[in-house]
């Protein structure tokens, strides 16, 4: 089975500071993708960033970057220069190929609160 674990139920950060959200996962597949999704109070699921497992270079999207450690099965999200609009639930997710098809498996989420 594929599993995703987010060990931080809640986090808070001051505006303009940097915060890192943790995610670990387990899969038996060699080729897979990892994602971070943001869910604001509107409950819309918004893709933040994605990482292809066979790429060693960490993905970056503006203020969002990841630290992908394949051997450790770790996929953390760093948010730089935090903004009030970053306040949301953040989900780490994994999808593979093979027997798991294209099913997206989610972690339990981390609530991030950005304080002014």
């Amino acid at each position: 089975a594929q599993t995703v674990t987010q060990s931080q139920p809640e986090m808070s950060v001051q505006e303009a500071e940097t915060v890192t959200l943790s995610c670990t996962y387990d899969t038996s597949e060699n080729n897979y993708y990892l994602f971070w999704y943001k869910q604001p109070p509107s409950r819309q699921m918004i893709l933040v960033i994605r990482q292809e497992a066979y790429k060693q270079q960490n993905a970056t999207e503006n203020r969002f970057s990841v630290n992908f450690q394949k051997a450790a099965k770790s996929f953390s999200l760093k948010i730089s220069d935090s903004q009030l609009g970053d306040t949301a639930m953040y989900f780490c997710a994994l999808t593979g190929f093979g027997e798991y098809g294209n099913k997206l498996v989610f972690g339990a989420g981390t609530i991030l609160r950005v304080k002014s």
């Binding site: 893709l47 989900f91 098809g101 099913k103």
Partner: protein, 113 residues
Amino acid sequence: NAGVTQTPKFRILKIGQSMTLQCTQDMNHNYMYWYRQDPGMGLKLIYYSVGAGITDKGEVPNGYNVSRSTTEDFPLRLELAAPSQTSVYFCASTPGQGNYGYTFGSGTRLTVV
């Protein structure tokens, strides 16, 4: 380009009632999914489909049924609603295997009383 459209956005059901949650996508995506999200939790897969006429169970299928008669539509049927089915339901789609990303609908908040 509407993406993934879910209806209704909110619904209150009485125990034992039935209803269908509608999901339509206009992107010609082959893969479609139904997830449920309980309060403060992640999304759990109910059912999925890899193309018209093909459906399969996910992690939490009990109490639900689906059909996929067309590429565009993937309705989720709740029979004999129970309080345990109170949740937010999301429909999602993706073109196929690979790093295409997933498009989510805006969700349906269902309360069973």
